[in-house]
Symmetry: C2
Subunit: 140 residues, 2 copies
């Protein structure tokens, strides 16, 4: 029921790139700034590239850069780039995952929840997130 640490790194990574759109940034720098293991982050960045969220440049002076406007990158985009399509229950993405699904009363609920949840995630883009003031929320 949680995003993985990989996804968390990916989000912070996109957040960092959002703050550095003026130039190309090396994995090493993101790794340092976002406290994420370099080679793991490199893998994650490859997924972001495949999802057309970032673009990469090889060789000396290489690195990464967002390939879209922060405003056009949503939380859902980044989560799906890393984890693939998301759903609360495997049967939503693959009916063969559960022999019951054709008669299961919960199945349609999962379908509906997935749609609603995806909508929630789509509402948050990285321009907005980067503009958010550091939290003054107190709980927990």
């Amino acid at each position: 029921m949680q995003i993985t640490r990989e996804t968390d790194y990916a989000i912070r990574c996109v957040l960092y790139l959002t703050s550095r759109t003026d130039r190309v940034v090396m994995v090493d720098e993101i790794s340092r700034e976002m406290a994420a293991p370099k080679s793991f982050l490199a893998k994650i960045l490859q997924k972001l590239v495949k999802a057309d969220i970032a673009r990469s440049f090889r060789g000396v002076k290489g690195g990464f850069q967002l390939s879209r406007e922060p405003r056009d990158i949503t939380l859902l985009d980044v989560i799906e780039a890393v984890e693939g399509s998301i759903a609360l229950n495997a049967c939503v993405l693959d009916r063969t995952a559960c022999g019951f699904s054709s008669t299961c009363a919960v199945h349609p609920i999962w379908i509906g929840l997935r749609a609603e949840f995806n909508e929630l995630l789509k509402k948050h883009n990285f321009a907005d997130i980067a503009g958010t003031k550091p939290s003054s929320d107190r709980e927990p």
Copy 2:
């Protein structure tokens, strides 16, 4: 990003008990009907008892029964009974989980999403779910 199989069993288990509120049901029967391993299910039922979703009776003629009206048991109740408080990111439940949270622009988003998501789950109670017609949805 998914509920665990344990949670899935728990939900199907409550769904089965919802259809048999007139009597006490043995683990063996639920296990058979819901295709869940018996001893695993026994553990899950203990969690449901602790959460005051089911009550148990020991000894010959023992078994389980819902301890509340199906209408008063929500999806959120069952998920939390099994998984504990849920949140998309560990930092929402435990700020020490991430050194960044006090300055992190994503943190408040997680907090908000958690609240919205919990609301979605609260909307579904087991009287409604049990009343749902078997899905005629076609995807996937």
